[in-house]
Symmetry: C2
Subunit: 246 residues, 2 copies
Amino acid sequence: MGEINGYTDLEKQRLLLNEHEEKHFMSSEVVRDIILGVSDGLTVPFALAAGLSGANVPSSIILVAGVAEVAAGAISMGLGGYLAAKSEADHYARELKREQEEIVSVPDIEAAEVAEILAQYGVEPHEYGPVVSALQRNPDAWVDFMMKFELGLEKPDPRRALWSALTIAFSYIVGGIVPLVPYMVIPIATRALGASVVLTLVALLIFGFVKGHFTGNQPFKSALQTVLIGAVASAAAFSIAKVVKA
Amino acid sequence: MGEINGYTDLEKQRLLLNEHEEKHFMSSEVVRDIILGVSDGLTVPFALAAGLSGANVPSSIILVAGVAEVAAGAISMGLGGYLAAKSEADHYARELKREQEEIVSVPDIEAAEVAEILAQYGVEPHEYGPVVSALQRNPDAWVDFMMKFELGLEKPDPRRALWSALTIAFSYIVGGIVPLVPYMVIPIATRALGASVVLTLVALLIFGFVKGHFTGNQPFKSALQTVLIGAVASAAAFSIAKVVKA
């Protein structure tokens, strides 16, 4: 068998590739947005309410503060996520335009950049040469190649910005309501605090466990870490509020 | 000139590449962390304080709530950032191990995956074949190639998690103190609110402008967007607090 047949085998293998599914964990962007919203939503309003309880503020005002915080946090994080996704999309569009211009205006430099990328992996000039020629034949593919391999940029989904904003905001509200529920029904803040601590710790444990499962980390470790953040943040808020109030 | 000379020219070009510096904007991770912290820090405590002012809560309690929120937010975002960076590093380590095992246990499938990646860009089997052979010769480079081009994963910096946490937390505190300063010196909340609005809007404008400059977006557009988030979040917090209090 000569080289030509070797490469034909490689192509056959390539076409059979669909039958092999790699179990690499790909954390989806939606999962990331939900985690971002829920974990901050469970933690910050909880800690704020705990801090105000420590400063002897009545439940009714704690509830006002908590609800105002949840609204502000959801909007700030949601709009922030929207603008971040938008700015990422703008960045991609600008770099795409630049690469498109460069393969026309400085094609030799762009060809050398392809060579540079492949040479990093120990590929020799006579081996990467044909790949460079193939890309030069097909300018659109060449631009895509540079976007991904030189700049490490993926084509963003145009609907992503809006969805990301809504997902983060909604997740923050869902997480933020949990620690506030006791303050809605128990007028004495120090008593409501006890119920809020229990309710939120349970929610943080469950959320941390599920998060660990979805991000491919150990669920128990993730559950403990998530509870730790909530506990440290609210202990700090509690102590600082006591000091400021005094 | 034959093919061999053509490829030698390509290599010469490649070695001359250092002289050509592309002005692609690369947003550094530190800049991203500072932006994340400051923008949320300026917005949420500002909106919370505005909301509580709308509900006729005295400045002293607003200050307690604001400081508790800043402490909780800084810790929650900082520790959240720390764990996110840690979990990214763990994810990289797991995938690296898997790729290392796969190029030993299923080398043909991994070779076909390299072929698949290059075929996407219109490269023919006889052109990508030599690249596949080059990677097979050098297993370490092959694994690096798969990590970057199949999975799109970059090797994470081990010190990143801690720095990211500290940068986000510190930025949140710096941003969060700005809207609270008027409540420290003006006991009547509705008057403090006016000063807080002016101070924070100016800070949001300056911050948005600088942010636009660093992220490669139009500074004026960025300044207006940043102010808009702050205004919408605090208007919402203000209205909701008024409704809950009533």
